[in-house]
């Protein structure tokens, strides 16, 4: 398969998964599926954050990215879960730790 063909195939797969439940109007699901959908976004975001910050190279490791996670949590507490507070304090922790370690 050519590189262009591969790009097109990945685009089709990605779009198909995004479109799956949007192609026809749906009612709010009830029961276990409804509860699953309710908590899935939170679970997804925490998983992405954990993977990127606690295991940036694919396995758990102590790196400056972990300091960013600690800073992000601290920023979230100090600035009452404000997005910029999490980002700002997390970035400061990351850059300081990286400067000290390197």
């Amino acid at each position: 398969m050519s590189d262009l063909g591969l790009v097109l195939a990945v685009a089709v797969i990605t779009y198909a998964t995004r479109l799956a439940f949007l192609v026809r109007p749906r009612q709010v699901p009830e029961g276990p599926l409804g509860r699953f959908l309710e908590v899935f976004p939170l679970a997804l975001f925490i998983v992405i954050a954990t993977s990127g910050l606690a295991a940036p190279a694919g396995e758990p490791a102590f790196t400056p990215a972990l300091a960013a996670a600690v800073g992000g949590v601290a920023g979230g507490i100090v600035f009452r879960r404000n997005l910029w507070g999490v980002l700002g304090v997390g970035a400061i922790f990351f850059y300081l730790t990286r400067a000290v370690v390197q």
Partner: protein, 222 residues
């Protein structure tokens, strides 16, 4: 829609995403060309796929042929299913063309903002998400163009690009943690994410861990 309050709020709220995703797009452009894509194909891939996770995985596995890339894209794409169902619930009945457009940029970042907007009671969720999509799409494609055509001298890791997006997700998750069930889900997600790095192939880690933590959340909702 373009002059609605919700649309303007979406633009304002997604400035941070424009910056973070733009920087990530630069990184992708640089790495895609490094991996052997001509700059035009790196650009086309960002225009068509609009998925950092799928695209970084694609260029990472490029030397192994098409099969691993397609399997990985499928594994990564599975997380869109609950996102898609959740968004369908949030926007309610809409014309087909609008739903097709909203699905095009159904990515983690704009989905995160949209979930937050729904919780905050934003009036017109379609307008809000459209604005966030526009910002993300612009940043992602522009960043890729810059990285692919002019990025030879840039080292994205030197500025810590790889840390900013996970931090962004931490920031998006923070206000969603309100009650005891949310704390349990968050703690389960941390544990599942770490466990997944040990037992699952990379392309399935995010989807598998998020699904596992959500199942724990189902049990808590009884």
């Amino acid at each position: 829609m373009l002059d609605s309050v919700s649309f303007r709020k979406g633009l304002r709220d997604s400035v941070v995403i424009l910056l973070a995703v733009g920087a990530f797009g630069v990184a992708y452009g640089v790495l895609a060309v490094d991996a052997g894509f001509p700059p035009w194909l790196a650009t086309v891939s960002s225009v068509l796929i609009v998925s950092g996770a799928a695209q970084f995985t694609m260029i990472g596995l490029l030397s192994g042929g098409a099969v691993p890339v397609l399997l990985a894209a499928t594994g990564l794409g599975l997380r869109h299913l609950p996102m898609s169902a959740s968004l369908a619930t949030a926007i309610g009945p809409q014309p087909l063309g609008r739903r097709l457009r909203l699905a095009w940029v159904l990515v983690d970042e704009t989905f995160g903002l949209t979930v937050r907007a729904v919780a905050a009671g934003v009036e017109d969720i379609v307008a809000y998400k459209s604005a966030a999509d526009l910002m993300l799409y612009s940043g992602w494609v522009a960043g890729t163009v810059f990285g692919a055509w002019f990025g030879g001298a840039i080292d994205p890791e030197a500025v810590g690009v790889g840390v900013m997006l996970p931090l962004l997700f931490l920031g998006l998750a923070a206000p969603m943690i309100q009650e005891r069930r949310d704390w349990v889900v968050a703690a389960s997600a941390v544990a599942a994410a770490l466990l997944a790095t040990l037992v699952l192939p990379p392309a399935w880690q995010i989807t598998g861990a998020a699904a596992l933590a959500s199942l724990v959340g189902i049990g808590f909702g009884e």
